[in-house]
Symmetry: C2
Subunit: 366 residues, 2 copies
């Protein structure tokens, strides 16, 4: 049985998401994109060693195929990695009709996607995400970026892939910490958009953490459907799309403040969701019971539920460069009710109360 | 009498071009874009000293205004200059609703426009071009880019400005060499799209070189009309827009081969147009007489008409990374007839004959 592709409906920039076991060994949609073109696979050592041979086979109809390996980790999501891609493309004389294949996790996808967005003013790319976080979140929606020393994802572009191909087989080799990081974004999708999905994540949590293929594939699919729907409604994040940043304003502050790479993005988001839920409750938007339920689920996913032991001022400083900020004042995605999110500015006192209540954890968690 | 704005018709990305004396001191359209926003003026020392005070006045309704100065010259059209902009914007906590004003020549416009394209995944910008070349060509059409050591304009984006404001007063302070460089692109517009305009450039050449305001403003307007029309027909250069690159495949090779900055872009294009016209004639597309007429006009504009004394192989090497190349083979904009351009690949022998016939000039011209 072949599962239906999920369509990200964006007019002439629409594209399908394929989810299932074994997809990176080849699929007719990938084949038709690759055929006769110059193709550059952007990946890292770990992914290339584990899964590279399969993908190589799937790309055999390319006119020319090169591999570009980036150093691993969020602290390499920078101009140096980007330039490594440009240099390789230019040395091999890749033209405007070339194709980039992003083969790895969120960092590879963001950097390779951004390279595709600006190489010769934009070339096609395909996402082949190999981590849970990338499959359920970062590979879908066309947000690409690199970090700046003064802020995360501060330099980037909206550039939609031509195809997303999520091979669920690649999840089997992930370390548990990365599974947990992916679960954070899935819990987010439930919390902001679908309480039934949140229920199912609660029910299936041990199967998901154990990488049980059926449970995982089903949840990846539901997350992609939610994300595809939100992106189709608001590609460039004028309004609706901002809800996908639930937990991210706090999360980005934690990631940046601790130094990129000490917290995984998903871990920081897990913790950030606790803060955002706490803040929503303090503003009278949701019951304490739902905050506790969310904390329980985040903890059950193996994620931290307390931010680092910093003073509120320190959090505020890292939050004020957030891209959602309005004239230097951060805005927050809050829960209006369970399963429904809104964008808000909040009173300083309430924000500080949340920061005090939800911090006090260790500085780093690795 | 207020001249009508020229409209670049691109749906929801449409914008007006205003041309006239004194515009950088203020205009209601600029005022309405600036009002209440965080505004960053990107410029260089020379332009700031000559014209900065006027523009400062025009921006007085901004909520916050910072100035960012880039080092001058094509060899600074790089990541370092781009990052200087990002650093200043982030330090001043500029958000997604900020506005960049590109105030200078082609380098400032390309770098500042590209910064606007990718800062926080894209913010608004306004072009206030101060050189002839920028007013008639680079400020219109949304092409932004930086150079890579392996090729010119290899990293960039299509990002349309919200407004182009060409103050013809700023042309009075330009060195003659830069006037000539601008005239190259104007001759190009005539050669590819409008023989009447080419006639008028021939007629008015001494007035134009002497910066006679009326002649200059009239010609700037006609060039902008031609460019706006071509860009509206094909924003992302799928086909028609490529004709604007007449002379550029050769020109880019000269610029890159000589080392960025030794030849001004317009100078290299002047020389490149001679080569492209010669090549068109060798392929039987235009009469020798029109080639000679074009050479005469280019020389009358104070531009070089002979490429550097390199072997054909050296030219070919620098041309093979051109963005119009197809699988490593350069393609050329040729004249199908006077006033009409087409995109073509050409036989090696003919290309080499042209390169031999049209080179032999000095290596640098400054």
């Amino acid at each position: 049985m072949k599962p239906e592709p999920i369509e990200v409906a964006l007019g002439d920039r629409s594209y399908p998401i394929l989810i299932g076991p074994g997809l990176s060994s080849g699929h007719p949609m990938l084949e038709s994109l690759v055929k006769g073109r110059q193709v550059a696979v952007v990946t890292n050592d770990r992914v290339a060693a584990l899964h590279g041979a399969r993908l190589g086979l799937a790309l055999s109809s390319a006119a020319q195929c090169i591999e570009i390996r980036l150093p691993e980790g969020e602290d390499h999501k920078d101009w140096m990695s980007l330039d490594r891609i440009f240099e390789a493309l230019l040395e091999s004389r890749f033209d405007r009709r070339s194709l980039i294949v992003a083969f790895g996790g969120g960092v590879v996808g963001d950097v390779a996607g951004f390279a595709a967005a600006i190489y010769q003013r934009g070339i096609d790319f395909v996402q082949v995400p190999t981590t849970l976080l990338a499959q359920v979140d970062s590979s879908v929606g066309g947000k690409t970026a690199i970090n700046h020393s003064l802020g995360k994802n501060m330099v980037g572009a909206f550039h939609q892939p031509r195809l997303v191909l999520a091979d669920t087989d690649t999840l089997a080799t992930l370390p548990p910490r990365e599974i947990s990081a992916g679960l954070a974004e899935m819990i987010k999708h439930g919390a902001i958009a679908d309480l039934d999905y949140l229920d199912s994540l609660e029910r299936d949590m041990s199967a998901l953490r154990a990488c049980e293929p059926t449970a995982l594939a089903r949840a990846v699919r539901r997350s992609c459907e939610i994300k595809a729907q939100v992106v189709a409604a608001d590609e460039r994040e004028s309004d609706v799309r901002a809800i996908l940043n639930f937990g991210h304003t706090f999360g980005h502050a934690i990631e940046a403040g601790a130094g990129y790479g000490r917290w995984l993005h998903g871990e920081a988001v897990g913790c950030g969701m606790v803060m955002a839920a706490d803040l929503s409750h303090r503003l009278g938007m949701i019951e304490r019971g739902f905050v506790d339920r969310l904390i329980g689920l985040i903890a059950a996913a193996g994620l931290p539920v307390r931010g680092p032991d910093w003073a509120p001022e320190q959090y505020l400083q890292w939050m004020s460069t957030d891209k959602k900020a309005d004239q230097g004042r951060p805005r927050f995605i809050l829960l209006d009710s369970p399963g429904r999110a809104v964008l808000r500015q909040v009173p300083d006192e309430t924000l500080e109360a949340t920061l005090r209540a939800c911090s006090g954890g260790p500085f780093g968690i690795s």
